[in-house]
Symmetry: C2
Subunit: 286 residues, 2 copies
């Protein structure tokens, strides 16, 4: 779970204006990139964020490894790849990390019978699991499936079964779609935690395991890796708590009044968008 | 809001078996009684809890003042009175406290335009308020009105309006109906608090104001008043934090494994039911 008010391991905490700092680029060899709010905005319509395709092209051209890391549970990595390719991103299979394959492994490993609250379009991904008499609840981008009936069913199961678990594909409070802000699964995980006195297990950002898996796939160390995201908690603080650097973009769900300065998180840098981050980084490499 | 792990002001914290203690009766001159789970169990069917009518008769006969205090927001005090009379309780108008009249006063005083999430059967109670362009959300026993759509509407309003407020008619985690356990409004208040970083205002148990108003109506001091309830947080700890004594019944939503001993609340006494509490008290008076 995201811890509130935890310490940050960045070197910029005494610097209230980190916008123009290039300290964060030192020793960096690779990037983790959020998708929604950094590459493009999603919702009923999708819109590319200015410069993000160019930013990725520049990374590729410079031979800098990167991975897209999204907490989306409405799409498999293959679907995320498809969408990025449609937008013109230079991205390959194996460069996308989402929680769905990770949570499936987790459920298999523990032999869980899940009650799955995810978007209907990924129901098929969980077809292999026995969902009768569940002993855990999996919370993803479920939106209207977060009904009172479903939450109460989860609550009753969690209360009745001693070793039951709350598994969440992220701890985000909200996400931005083109239509506005929407409550994210972290809010419903928090509601069930409060109701049951159980702690949830997070698969996805900001869990250290998720950042580490993506980073390891590039063969890099934490201090050599930067996460660029629009969620100051899930992306920036999460990365910092896993030992990586965290850069906050001013796109997506970024809100000036809340996120800059943030009450307790100090990003390694604020940038206007992904392209600015990559240009600052590459300028330092010359 | 209920604070977790707060200190209790009872005198029994060093006594793990308080069941047979009569210390709690010393100086007591009046009672606050929970309704659901203490007087009767509710749901699609209603069932009287053994001895509760007799207990109230004994109080009346002995001239001991009492008030029924319920966080129900599916009924007005008048409706609660009606139901109690149907069950045969010796109770009068003015002896019932519920949050609905209190929250209406609160909304009037602050000039709030509420977005009201309560049971449809009390919608009419709020007819006087302008509910367009709301600047606060009121959370009661709303059950299926706690939909994703409504919670997101509340979230968006709370985020968009700087001085907006979350008002909750209790902070309970769950309540018991004859059909099982159900998530209470405290869980949804917690979800909105987490999503918005705003603190909710509680009207009803366990707010000190609510206990105090009921106690004051009997002309008693905190140390002269006992709350008898089935919710160890909302009833027992809440009363203790307001300076009253708190007695836990083993009826209603009481769960032996969770509530006795509780991980951090020490009731002034555990009793099998309301009748036992009143008999212990009256025995000490002879």
């Amino acid at each position: 779970m995201t811890s509130r008010g935890g310490s940050c391991n960045d070197g910029a905490s005494s610097n209230s204006n980190v916008s123009n700092s290039t300290n964060w680029t030192k020793g960096v060899k690779g990037f983790l990139l959020d998708v929604y709010g950094v590459a493009y905005n999603c919702g009923q319509t999708f819109s590319l964020i200015d410069g993000s395709v160019e930013a990725v092209s520049k990374l590729r051209k410079a031979g800098i490894p990167f991975r897209f890391c999204s907490n989306t549970s409405t799409k498999t990595p293959e679907k995320v790849l498809e969408r990025l390719l449609e937008f013109g991103f230079d991205v390959k299979p194996g460069e996308i990390f989402t929680p769905i394959p990770v949570v499936k492994n987790y459920l298999r490993k523990h032999g869980y019978r899940p009650f799955i609250l995810v978007d209907p379009c990924v129901d098929q991904e969980f077809a292999e699991f026995d969902q009768s008499d569940p002993n855990c609840v999996v919370l993803g981008d479920a939106k209207h499936r977060f009904s009172y009936e479903n939450l109460n069913k989860a609550f009753q199961m969690l209360t009745d079964k001693k070793d039951s678990a709350i598994i969440t594909l992220g701890t985000g409070k909200y996400y931005k779609e083109t239509e506005g802000m929407f409550l994210d699964c972290g809010v419903f995980a928090k509601a069930l935690e409060f109701a049951t006195d159980k702690q949830s297990v997070c698969i996805g950002k900001p869990s250290k395991e998720f950042f580490t898996a993506a980073m390891n796939s590039m063969g890099l160390k934490p201090e050599e890796t930067v996460m660029v995201g629009d969620d100051i908690i899930g992306d920036v603080q999460g990365a910092q708590q896993a030992g990586l650097k965290g850069v906050q973009v001013r796109t997506g769900k970024y809100r000036q009044l809340v996120d800059e300065p943030h009450s307790y998180v100090r990003p390694d840098a604020y940038v206007d968008n992904l392209l600015q981050a990559i240009e600052i980084y590459l300028a330092g490499k010359i």
